[in-house]
């Protein structure tokens, strides 16, 4: 295989073993990206089932028990199967190219990190076909719903989480080792592209909190099967302990999802503004500050659980503090665009939409951080709307931007700009139709995770469902665009696909050769 990767022309066996046995960061990046897109469609299908059921009040399509499994699996598959692996895929593809490394630091472990995921998600998805159904306790799997009252399949969920955690930890260690050890001569830390910076901080967060998640599910496993009483007050435990442990993982987790998205946008906006990123070092420090703060704010997810007032106040103010470094980032993106020679290709459109909609989601987050107000918002559709604005319009939009931005570099073909822009507008409009009304529903008091609702919520639910289907359609358009680009796209061999692009990844030919930077480039 030393002469280049096997293609289909070499026969099925060679082609399959290329992907299964690969140690190449580009192949593994591609695997991650396709896997995450498959999971995105699966989680999306679950979302479509949810929105179809909620189209009208009353139960039409599915049973409430199945609805609960759908909300749970939608969340789990999207967070752990779609968004996280998508950014790991981008990291695999781009970090070695951006820092001038021949590959990831530990290539075989890299392959293992990926191939654990299909097993983990096969196990997780198989629970839907088990007796008693799949996990039905929400993606946050609060005890005792996920322990005392859980179906047997919860054990499969627990072990699936265990091995996908192992995958995440190995993947993150690999990224940290790559960035710390494999930078080209001259690439000092403060010259690294921001995508690399955000990822190395993300990897640090992952190594720190995935073991805590493993601890949380281990405690569940012991409580369910071996008689311990971590989450059972009868034995001296406390269900609230679960929430503390879970959110100590869970809050950094939301930054694990969004920080790489920040990185992507910080690469794209300067390119299409034809200006260097405004305030590079403040971006780095802001990212680090957000990561640090993410460890000390977890209980703002638990304002209604009965914490002492001092706890409520502390977590409220600490949470509000996050708006400061986040504001630094938003202002830097805007200032980068200020007086730039802007053009609005698809990646730029998605990035600008990211800045606007993510900021909007950030503001609703700020509203939720007010402990007193959260008593009203807690567990309503307002929360659902908030985190979909930051997860979908944040992470997914920036992931989509990244695909359009780097696709020519990956496959040496240019996507169809018109099709890209059409997809953007469908996604943008569909997204807002789907999730904007959920703010109104939440403020009016509609609780989340219910299969049915009162008549007063009917109109906006119908609107929201229509938007969700439009947005789902936009993802099929994305798939279509990517496949059409790979198959029939206009070939491009330019090293620099975008005239304003800077960085080492734009110094190698398009498509990027199978092996790049076997000897480290000189970086000035």
């Amino acid at each position: 295989m030393a002469h280049g990767p096997a293609t289909l022309a070499d026969g099925w066996r060679a082609y399959i073993s290329r992907w299964v046995f690969t140690t190449n960061h580009k192949d593994i990046g591609t695997l991650y990206l396709w896997f995450s897109f498959a999971m995105f469609l699966l989680g999306g299908a679950f979302a479509m089932i949810i929105r179809a059921e909620l189209f009208q009040p009353g139960m039409q399509l599915i049973r409430p028990e199945f609805f609960n499994q759908m909300t749970t699996m939608h969340g789990l598959v999207m967070v752990f199967g779609a968004i996280m692996p998508a950014f790991v895929g981008l990291a695999n593809w781009m970090i070695p190219l951006m820092i001038g490394a021949p590959d990831m630091a530990l290539p075989r472990m890299n392959n293992l990190s990926f191939w654990i995921l299909p097993f983990a998600f096969a196990i997780l998805t198989s629970t839907l076909f088990m007796e008693g159904g799949g996990p039905n306790f929400g993606w946050t799997f609060y005890a005792p719903l996920s322990t005392t009252y859980a179906p047997d399949s919860v054990n499969f969920f627990i072990f699936a989480i265990h091995i996908m955690g192992a995958s995440s930890i190995m993947g993150s260690i690999n990224i940290i080792a790559t960035v710390m050890n494999m930078r080209a001569p001259g690439m000092t830390y403060m010259k690294m592209p921001l995508f690399v910076w955000t990822w190395v901080i993300t990897a640090f967060l992952l190594v720190a909190v995935m073991p805590v998640l493993a601890g949380a599910v281990t405690m569940m496993l012991m409580d369910i099967n071996f008689g311990t009483s971590f989450f059972d007050a009868a034995g001296g435990g406390d269900p609230v302990l679960f929430q503390h442990v879970f959110w100590f993982f869970g809050h950094p987790e939301v930054y694990i999802i969004i920080l790489p998205a920040f990185g992507v946008v910080s690469q794209i906006i300067p390119t299409f503004s034809r200006k260097p990123l405004f305030g590079y070092s403040s971006m780095v420090y802001a990212t680090a500050a957000i990561a640090f703060l993410s460890f000390v704010v977890w209980a703002h997810h638990m304002f209604t659980v009965g914490m002492p007032i001092a706890g409520e106040l502390y977590f409220m103010y600490a949470t509000m503090l996050i708006a400061v470094p986040t504001g630094v980032k938003v202002f830097n993106w805007i200032t980068t665009m200020y007086k730039g020679s802007l053009t609005f290709e698809t990646p730029m459109l998605f990035s600008i939409a990211f800045v606007i909609l993510f900021t909007f989601g950030g503001f609703t987050g700020l509203m939720l951080s007010i402990a007193a107000a959260d008593m009203q918002y807690h567990d309503t559709y307002f929360v659902v709307a908030h985190f979909h604005y930051v997860m979908v319009a944040g992470a997914v939009f920036s992931g989509t931007a990244a695909i359009y931005y780097w696709l020519p570099k990956w496959c040496g073909k240019m996507y169809n700009e018109t099709m890209g822009q059409v997809q953007f507008w469908v996604a943008f409009i569909g997204f807002n139709i789907a999730f904007m009304p959920q703010h109104f529903l939440g403020l009016a008091g509609m609780p989340r995770r219910y299969a049915d609702y009162g008549l007063q919520f009917a109109d906006w639910n119908m609107v929201s469902s229509i938007g969700a289907f439009i947005y789902g359609g936009a993802q099929l358009m994305l798939l279509y665009n990517v496949i059409m680009t790979i198959k029939f796209g206009k070939p491009t061999t330019e090293e620099k696909t975008w005239e304003g692009a800077e960085g080492l990844e734009w110094t190698v030919p398009s498509p990027a050769p199978y092996h790049t930077f076997s000897t480290p480039p000189e970086f000035k």
Partner: protein, 313 residues
């Protein structure tokens, strides 16, 4: 960051996919096992994992012996090990954090003692009501020999507290207190592994092999004593996994520590066998060093455990 020779990027490898399959089998098997049958699938996964790990590390050692690993690659291994240990620290942090929360906050809440504030230690109405309505008769104490369930429901309780705890038995019985000896053994083993390391650095192979062997022996003694302690707890103290929160935290913390000691002992044992075969020299010793770092890590965890689980009541 400079490279004197190019970084070794391995060719395609069958190891990872076999390892992933093994992990998948173990996960699926374990989940099936706890609700019924699955022990065969789990065992199959375990065997696959054991074989693939043996093969994987043999491959890495072999590559290193053939000089394929340059300094930069070795540094990647160092970083990998250090960050792996950091992830282990965080795993224990979850359990230590849980212990802290359960002992300091939950226990006083269940006992109706949860105070209004730092400066005003009047119990809150909610805590008092919680105690009186749900767990009448439960008094907050640590170690809790009576569970809230037991206090409220007597003999009908699901969770029955232990007869005695593992705590410090008083100065008179100090020398027959097993945890103290375990502490002595583990701290000593950290010293012996350091002496072995010094021997290796000074090219004194005899010192290296002997003191490393002694470290492995101490690790094994620790594990035997720990097993003895567990048997004693189950048979004579009524202290089990289901004896309420004390048994829960005691067995989970010491149990996970014991599992990590086992892993560390295996790592040191492998290093010892390799040392007998003449592996390692004062320049090339990462396999052993990684094992010794891990050993120091489990030692530090034990010292923390010793104080928060055994000593401080």
């Amino acid at each position: 960051m400079s490279t004197e020779s190019s970084y070794y990027v391995p060719e395609q490898s069958k190891l990872p996919i076999v390892a992933a399959t093994g992990m998948g089998l173990m996960a699926y098997g374990a989940a099936s096992w706890v609700i019924g049958d699955g022990n065969i699938v789990f065992t199959a996964g375990l065997v696959v994992m054991a074989l693939v790990m043996f093969k994987w590390w043999s491959t890495v050692i072999d590559e290193n012996m053939r000089g394929m690993a340059n300094d930069q690659l070795k540094h990647s291994y160092v970083l990998g090990m250090l960050w792996f240990i950091f992830s282990e620290v965080m795993f224990f942090a979850a359990f230590f954090g849980a212990l802290f929360y359960l002992r300091v906050i939950v226990n006083s809440w269940l006992g109706g003692d949860a105070a209004i504030g730092i400066f005003d230690d009047t119990p809150t109405d909610a805590a008092v009501a919680n105690n009186e309505l749900l767990w009448p008769g439960y008094e907050a104490e640590w170690p809790p020999l009576v569970t809230p369930d037991e206090a409220a429901n007597g003999a009908n309780a699901t969770f029955i507290g232990p007869d005695e705890a593992m705590s410090f038995p008083g100065w008179a019985k100090l020398l027959s207190w097993l945890p103290l000896w375990n502490t002595v053994i583990l701290v000593t083993s950290s010293v012996t592994v350091h002496i072995a390391h010094t021997g290796l650095k000074n090219n004194n192979r005899k010192q290296f092999v002997r003191w490393l062997g002694l470290t492995v022996l101490l690790g094994l003694i620790f594990l035997v004593l720990q097993a003895e302690e567990y048997i004693h707890a189950y048979q004579h103290m009524g202290l089990t996994l289901d004896s309420g929160i004390y048994g829960t935290t005691f067995f989970m913390l010491t149990g996970f520590h014991g599992a990590h000691v086992t892993l560390g002992t295996v790592m040191l044992m492998v290093s010892w066998f390799r040392s007998l075969k003449g592996h390692f020299n004062h320049e090339d010793q990462f396999g052993f060093e990684a094992a010794s770092w891990y050993w120091h890590f489990v030692d530090v965890v034990w010292i923390l455990l010793f104080f928060v689980v055994y000593v401080f009541d």
